[in-house]
C-alpha cells in the first residue's frame, strides 16, 4: 500500500469515524450485578435496555474489593451461552479500548437469537481469577429497518415542520421570480 493509498484510507476511516454515531449510554444501561468475588468487586452493565438479540454491549467495572479502586491490569472475558445450549458459547474479550468510559471494560458482540442467556464475566489479574454470572432474557431482535428508524423517520418530521411552516406563514403560493412562468 503506497503513501497515497494510506492517506486515502486514513481519510476514509476518519470519515467513517465521524459518521458513526455514539451510543448515548455507552458503558451504562442496566446494572446486572455488582458483587464481591475473590479480591475484586465486579459490576456488570448491559445495553440495550431491554436486552435484545442483536448487537449488545456487556461492560464490566473491576475494582479492588478492599479499597474500591479500579484494577487497571485485569483481563476480562465475557462468555455468553444459551441456557439450553451451554456448549455453544460466544466468548469475547472485554477491553478498555472498546469502552467509552475508560474505567470500564466493554465487550461488543452479537447475540444471535432470543431466549434465556447465561452470561459469565471472568476476571483474571494479580488478585487471582474470579467469575461472576447472571441470567438474562434476550427479547426478539428488532428488524434491521427498526434499528435505523431515526434515519428513516426524520423526513416525516421534516415534512411535518414544513407543513407547520406553511400554515404559520399562511402562504398561498411561492413567491416566484418574475422571469419564471408556467406555460
Amino acid at each position: 500500500m503506497n503513501a497515497t493509498t494510506r492517506s486515502l484510507s486514513r481519510w476514509l476511516l476518519l470519515s467513517a469515524f465521524a459518521i458513526q454515531p455514539s451510543a448515548a449510554l455507552a458503558d451504562g444501561g442496566t446494572v446486572r450485578l455488582s458483587q464481591r468475588q475473590g479480591g475484586y468487586r465486579i459490576t456488570v452493565f448491559t445495553e440495550p435496555t431491554p436486552f435484545r438479540a442483536g448487537p449488545v454491549d456487556v461492560s464490566a467495572l473491576v475494582q479492588d474489593a478492599r479499597t474500591g479502586r479500579p484494577v487497571p491490569d485485569a483481563r476480562v472475558t465475557v462468555r455468553a451461552a444459551l441456557q439450553d445450549r451451554p456448549g455453544e458459547a460466544i466468548v469475547h474479550p472485554a477491553t478498555v479500548e472498546a469502552a467509552t468510559n475508560k474505567l470500564f471494560r466493554a465487550a461488543l458482540f452479537e447475540v444471535p437469537e432470543p431466549g434465556w442467556w447465561e452470561i459469565e464475566v471472568a476476571v483474571e489479574g494479580e488478585r487471582g481469577l474470579a467469575r461472576v454470572s447472571f441470567e438474562v432474557e434476550a427479547a426478539e431482535a428488532v428488524p434491521r429497518w427498526w434499528a435505523l428508524w431515526p434515519w428513516l423517520g426524520w423526513p416525516a418530521l421534516a415534512v411535518l415542520l414544513f407543513g407547520i411552516h406553511q400554515v404559520l406563514v399562511g402562504r398561498k403560493g411561492p413567491t416566484r421570480p418574475a422571469h419564471t412562468r408556467e406555460p
Binding site: A16, Q20, A24, Q63, K102, L103, W145, P155
Partner: protein
C-alpha cells in the same frame, strides 16, 4: 484517584456526527453573519459577542460530548455538572451573543427571505414566542422541567434509556433558553413587560434551586435507585449525591443572584450596570419580544429578480489558482489529456490483461471508481466529468480538419435516441455482465471514442453530447440538483452586448456548441460545463456560481437551447428512464433478486437468463414508469383540477422525481466506491508487474475481496435517499402550487405523486438493506 482522573481525561465518547455538524454549522453561520454586520459598519458587534457565542457552543459540546457525558452514568455529580452546563452556562452565553441578527445575516439569502422572514411576520408565532418568553411563563416552564426531571422515577428512566435521556437534555436546554431570554434580553428584543418583573422571577428561581439542592445535600439516603446500584470509587452513593447537591447549590445560586443584583442596580441607578439589550430601559416598550422589522435587507423577500449587478456569491472561477486555471483557454484540454491517457491504459489492459474484472483496470476503474467519483462530484459541484470528457479530445484536436458542416437531422433533434441508447446501455450492462468483462469494457470505451469522433466529424453543434451520449444525458439530468451553474454575472452587460460571442465564439475560441445563450439559459440541462462561453465572453461576465439545488425542477422559463420542460416529453422520458433505472440497476445486484433469478433459471434452464434480464428491464424501465406516472398524472389532474393535458401534467411532474433518482444512484454508487475503493491498488500493481515494472510491489489481493460493510454505510445510503425524497416532495409541491388554485387543491394534486415518491423511496430502502453483490471485487 490518579488512575480515575486519567480514565476521565481519556473517556471522550465517539463523536456524534449530528451534534458536531450542528455545532459547526451554527458557529459558521453566526461567524459569517457577525463578520457581515461588522463590515457593514455595525459598531455594536464586538469580539465579546463572538466569544460568547462560540463559548456557548463549546459549553454545549462539553456537556454532551466530553468525558462528563461518559462519567454521568457513574457519578451523579458528573451528571449534575452536565445539567448545570445545559441550564446555566450555555443559554446565557448564547443570548449574550445577541444571536438573532448574526444568525439571520449568516444564512443564505433564499433561506432568509423565503423561509425565515415569513415566520417573523406570522402573528400566531409572534404571539406564541411572546408568551413563552414572558418572564413568568418562562420561569414556570423552567421550574417544572427542573423538578419533574429530578423526580426519582423519571430520572431513573432517563438513566436507563438513551431516548429519555435525550429528551431530558432537550427539555433542560429548551426551558433554560426560554428562561434566560428575558433575563439577558438580547438585542434587538423590546419587551412589553416591566423589567422589575425579573427581580422576583430570578429570586424565585434561586429559591427553587436552593430547595432542590438542599434535598440532595441533606438527604441521608440515595434518591435515585440507579446511582445506588452502581459502584462508587471511594465514598458512597450518598456522598456522591451530597456533592451533586453542593454543585447545584453554589454555582446555581451565583447564576441567579448575580444577574438579580445587576438588574436591580441598573433599575435603581439607571444605565450602565450590565443589563443588555435595547429593552434594558426601565420603561416598558410596545413592540414585543421579536422585532417585527429587523432590518429590511435582512428579511425582505425579493418579489422580483435580484437587481444586478449582484454582489457575486461563490464563483468557482474566482477561487484562487483553480479559478485562474479554469479561465485559461486550454483548461479543458489540459483536463482531457490525462483522462484520455488513463482511458488508453484501461483499453490496453482490458484487451491484453487478465479477463477477471476485479484484477483488471478495465474492470475496476470504470465500474467502481469512475462511477462513484462521478456521482459524488455531481453532488458536491456539478457536471465536471463532461468538462474533462476524454472522448471528445480526438475531435477537439482534429477540429481544423473536420468539416462538421452538417446540421443534425431535424427529426432526430430530441432526446428520444439518447433514451433508447440509455435503455440499451442499462440492459447490456446487466445482460452481458459488462462490469465483469474487461474485454467488452475496453471495446465500449473504444466505441465511445469512435462514435464521438465520427458523429462530430459530420455534424456541428456538439451533436454527440446533446443527442446521443448516454453518460452526457445522465450528467445533464443529475446536474439539475447540483449546486453550481454557469450564470451571467451582470445582465446589464449582456443587454448591451450585440456580438453574442458566448454562442458564436470569437478569435478562434468556439462559443457554446449546444447553443445555450447565456442571458436566457437557466439551469444545467444540456450544459457540458465546457466553459467555452466563459472563454469567449469578451466582458468576463460569466461565473460558475452557486445555485439552489433543484430550483430548475419547479421553475419553467423558456430555456435557451432547451425550451420549457413542460413541452419536452422526450426529456421527461429520459428523466423517467434514469429515475427508474437507478432502482432497477441497484435491484439487479441484491440477494433476493439474484436468488429469484437463479431459481427461475434452475427451473426453466440456463438459456433463459438473457430473456429474464430483458423482461426485467422492459418491466422496470418501460412498463412500470408508464403505469405509475400515467396513473399519478391522471389522478393528479383530476383531484387537483389541473389545467393542461394529461401528457403535459405527466411530463412536468416527472422532473420532480429527479432528486429521488439521484439519491438512489448516489446511494448505490457510493456504496460500491466506499466499500471497494482500494481495489485499484493491487490491480495497478498487477498491471505494472505485467509491464515489467516492479516498483509498486507485489499485489496483495486481500483488499479486493469481501470487505465487511461498515455499519455507517447503510445510514449514509438512507440519508441520500431521505434527501432525495424530501427534495422530490418539495419540487412536487412547488409544481402543484404553481398549477393549482389554492393550497388545498395543490396538496390534492401532489398526493398521487407523493405516493409514487414514497413507494420509490421504500423500494430504495429495501434495496439498501439487502445484501449487495460486491461487483468488481474478488468476492463479487
Amino acid at each position: 484517584m490518579g488512575s480515575t482522573l486519567d480514565a476521565f481525561l481519556c473517556s471522550w465518547p465517539g463523536l456524534d456526527p449530528w451534534l458536531l455538524a450542528g455545532l459547526l454549522l451554527t458557529g459558521a453561520v453566526y461567524l459569517r453573519g457577525w463578520l457581515r454586520l461588522r463590515q457593514s459598519g455595525g459598531r455594536r458587534w464586538g469580539g465579546g459577542q463572538l466569544a460568547a457565542f462560540l463559548g456557548g457552543l463549546a459549553a454545549l459540546f462539553l456537556a454532551l460530548a466530553s468525558p462528563i457525558e461518559s462519567f454521568a452514568a457513574l457519578f451523579l455529580q458528573a451528571h449534575m455538572v452536565q445539567h448545570l452546563l445545559l441550564m446555566m452556562v450555555v443559554p446565557p452565553l448564547l443570548w449574550l451573543a445577541a444571536p438573532l441578527l448574526p444568525l439571520l445575516r449568516g444564512l443564505p439569502r433564499p433561506v432568509r427571505t423565503y423561509w425565515i422572514a415569513p415566520l417573523f411576520r406570522s402573528p400566531p408565532l409572534r404571539r406564541l414566542f411572546e408568551r413563552l418568553t414572558h418572564p413568568v411563563t418562562a420561569l414556570i416552564l423552567f421550574v417544572l422541567a427542573t423538578w419533574l426531571w429530578h423526580a426519582p422515577p423519571i430520572y431513573d428512566l432517563a438513566l436507563r434509556s438513551s431516548g429519555w435521556h435525550y429528551l431530558q437534555h432537550a427539555c433542560f436546554l429548551g426551558t433554560a433558553l426560554l428562561f434566560w431570554y428575558p433575563v439577558v434580553r438580547p438585542y434587538p428584543i423590546r419587551p412589553r413587560w416591566s423589567p422589575w418583573l425579573l427581580l422576583p422571577c430570578l429570586l424565585l428561581a434561586d429559591v427553587q434551586n436552593t430547595a432542590l439542592s438542599a434535598l440532595f445535600t441533606f438527604s441521608d439516603r440515595p434518591l435515585y435507585a440507579y446511582y445506588a446500584e452502581v459502584p462508587k470509587l471511594g465514598g458512597s452513593a450518598v456522598d456522591d449525591q451530597q456533592a451533586a447537591g453542593v454543585i447545584m447549590w453554589v454555582p446555581g445560586t451565583l447564576a441567579f443572584l448575580l444577574p438579580l443584583f445587576g438588574i436591580g442596580l441598573q433599575l435603581l441607578f439607571g444605565q450602565g450596570s450590565g443589563v443588555r439589550g435595547q429593552g434594558s430601559g426601565v420603561r416598558s416598550q410596545k413592540s414585543g419580544p421579536l422585532p417585527r422589522r429587523i432590518s429590511l435587507p435582512l428579511v425582505r423577500p425579493s418579489l422580483t429578480p435580484d437587481p444586478r449587478p449582484l454582489t457575486p456569491g461563490f464563483d468557482l472561477l474566482r477561487v484562487p489558482l483553480l479559478g485562474r486555471f479554469l479561465r485559461w483557454r486550454h483548461a479543458r484540454v489540459a483536463l482531457q489529456v490525462p483522462l484520455a491517457l488513463l482511458a488508453g491504459v484501461l483499453v490496453y489492459d482490458g484487451l491484453c490483461g487478465p479477463q477477471v474484472g476485479a484484477m483488471n483496470l478495465a474492470g475496476v476503474l470504470p465500474w467502481i471508481h469512475w462511477r462513484g467519483l462521478l456521482i459524488l462530484t455531481l453532488l458536491a459541484l456539478g457536471n465536471l466529468f463532461c468538462l474533462a470528457c476524454p472522448f471528445l479530445l480526438p475531435r477537439t484536436l482534429a477540429r481544423t480538419f473536420l468539416p462538421a458542416g452538417r446540421a443534425w437531422p431535424r427529426w432526430l433533434r430530441s432526446k428520444w435516441l439518447a433514451v433508447l441508447l440509455l435503455v440499451l446501455f442499462l440492459w447490456a450492462y446487466e445482460a452481458f455482465s459488462l462490469w465483469d468483462s474487461p474485454w467488452w469494457t475496453a471495446w465500449l470505451v473504444l466505441g465511445y471514442f469512435a462514435a464521438a469522433f465520427v458523429v462530430d466529424s459530420f455534424f456541428r453543434g456538439a451533436a454527440f453530447c446533446k443527442y446521443l451520449c448516454p453518460i452526457g444525458q445522465f450528467n445533464f439530468v443529475q446536474s439539475l440538483v447540483s449546486p453550481l451553474e454557469v450564470k451571467v454575472r451582470d445582465p446589464q452587460v449582456c443587454a448591451g452586448c450585440h456580438t453574442r460571442d458566448c454562442v458564436r465564439g470569437r478569435d478562434g475560441i468556439p462559443g457554446c456548441e449546444l447553443h445555450l445563450y447565456q442571458p436566457r439559459k437557466s439551469g444545467n440541462m444540456d450544459c457540458t460545463l465546457c466553459l467555452d462561453c466563459v472563454h469567449a465572453c469578451p466582458h468576463d461576465n460569466l461565473a460558475v456560481s452557486a445555485t439552489t439545488p433543484g430550483r430548475d425542477l419547479w421553475t419553467d422559463p423558456t430555456r435557451s437551447g432547451v425550451g420549457p420542460f413542460a413541452r419536452r416529453t422526450d426529456l421527461a422520458a429520459l428523466v423517467l428512464v434514469l429515475v427508474f433505472g437507478a432502482f432497477a440497476n441497484a435491484a439487479g445486484m441484491v440477494g433476493p433478486i439474484l436468488q429469484w433469478r437463479d431459481g427461475i433459471e434452475a427451473q426453466v434452464g440456463q438459456g433463459c437468463g438473457l430473456l429474464l434480464t430483458t423482461a426485467f428491464y422492459v418491466l422496470a424501465l418501460v412498463v412500470l414508469p408508464l403505469l405509475t406516472v400515467g396513473a399519478a398524472a391522471g389522478l393528479s389532474r383530476r383531484w387537483g383540477r389541473l389545467h393542461g393535458s394529461w401528457l403535459e401534467v405527466a411530463t412536468r411532474y416527472s422532473f420532480a422525481l429527479v432528486p429521488l433518482g439521484f439519491g438512489m444512484w448516489l446511494a448505490h454508487y457510493s456504496f460500491h466506491f466506499l466499500t471497494s475503493y482500494d481495489t485499484a491498488v493491487p490491480t495497478a500493481q498487477r498491471f505494472a508487474l505485467d509491464l515489467g515494472w516492479t516498483g509498486p510491489g507485489e499485489p496483495v489481493w486481500l483488499g479486493s475481496c469481501c470487505r465487511p460493510v461498515a455499519e455507517w454505510l447503510p445510514r449514509l445510503e438512507i440519508l441520500f435517499l431521505d434527501l432525495g425524497l424530501l427534495l422530490s416532495l418539495y419540487a412536487g409541491y412547488r409544481l402543484s402550487l404553481a398549477r393549482s388554485l389554492g393550497q388545498w387543491r395543490a396538496l390534492k394534486a401532489l398526493l398521487p405523486w407523493a405516493l409514487v415518491m414514497v413507494l420509490l423511496f421504500a423500494a430504495g430502502v429495501w434495496i439498501v438493506l439487502q445484501p449487495m453483490q460486491m461487483r468488481g471485487t474478488l468476492g463479487g
